[in-house]
Homo-oligomer: 148 residues x 2
Amino acid sequence: MSAAEQAGLRTGEVAEQAGVNIQTLRYYERRGLLAEPHRSNGGHRLYPPDTVALLNVIKAAQRLGFTLDEVADLLDAGRRRHPSPDLRERAIGKIAEIDQKIADLTTIRASLTEVVDARCDSLTNCTCADCPIPYLTIGTTRPSGDRA
Amino acid sequence: MSAAEQAGLRTGEVAEQAGVNIQTLRYYERRGLLAEPHRSNGGHRLYPPDTVALLNVIKAAQRLGFTLDEVADLLDAGRRRHPSPDLRERAIGKIAEIDQKIADLTTIRASLTEVVDARCDSLTNCTCADCPIPYLTIGTTRPSGDRA
DNA sequence: TTGCATCCGGTACCTGGGTACAGGCTTACC
DNA sequence: GGTAAGCCTGTACCCAGGTACCGGATGCAA
């Protein structure tokens, strides 16, 4: 059993297993998404094994359109055992955001399904001559009043 | 009735109504998201009125984590009356992506709800001492094999 | 103890999605 | 027809999120 096995994963291992760049690990550390890991005597980082899972979480959240700052918030909210009232507030806000996202995605999904199910395809000469923008409904439910 | 009324909206009007920058309109035009509008004799752009709605759609899709290229694809898919088989293929792919996004969002939502509902809050000294990463499940369902 | 793969910090660079500015022409209203 | 607001093209710049590169130090196995 080598020393590495009991001390943790090194950057290269984490990066490889999580499918991210080594530089990205250090970047996330700077951004506060990854806690500073332990170091070897020589100063090399040694990560706890669940870091890989955490990175997958981060990447998943990003794919959903959250910024790194937001991801940091989400992780923070989830991490604390007894969230402060403030944190609760923000979590509630995030839930509302998420609900909106889900609603929008559902609308887009429906539109795409129509395309695939050939609502227009088979009708070929689709009744809705001016059918150009099928996702229009999304626009009408946008979250905060943009319009004057 | 002025000439403008029958010819279309000018950039400033569209930008204002859609809540975007004028520069953004031209940027979208360059990127192919907005068709080149008609021009006045003097060369000023004159947009059809539904451009505003279209912009809202674009912005909504962006909030959901789609890139501009992807938005362009989505719009394209929705626009065609009789989609080519290829387009159908891509639409199907997008639907799968969207389903994944919805699933992930749902998971995150559930985790946040737990936080808000004080599953830990009231337990204060939460049983799950190592509860640190509640969204872990997301990572395990990530879309395409990242791992070697 | 040598040698190669890795890792270190620091800095520079890249892409996506915009945004700002300069210098000049149009529009619209008096 | 004068003039202010608005628009034109072109180019430069900005921010987020990474990536690449550099010169030097570590890790570890033979």
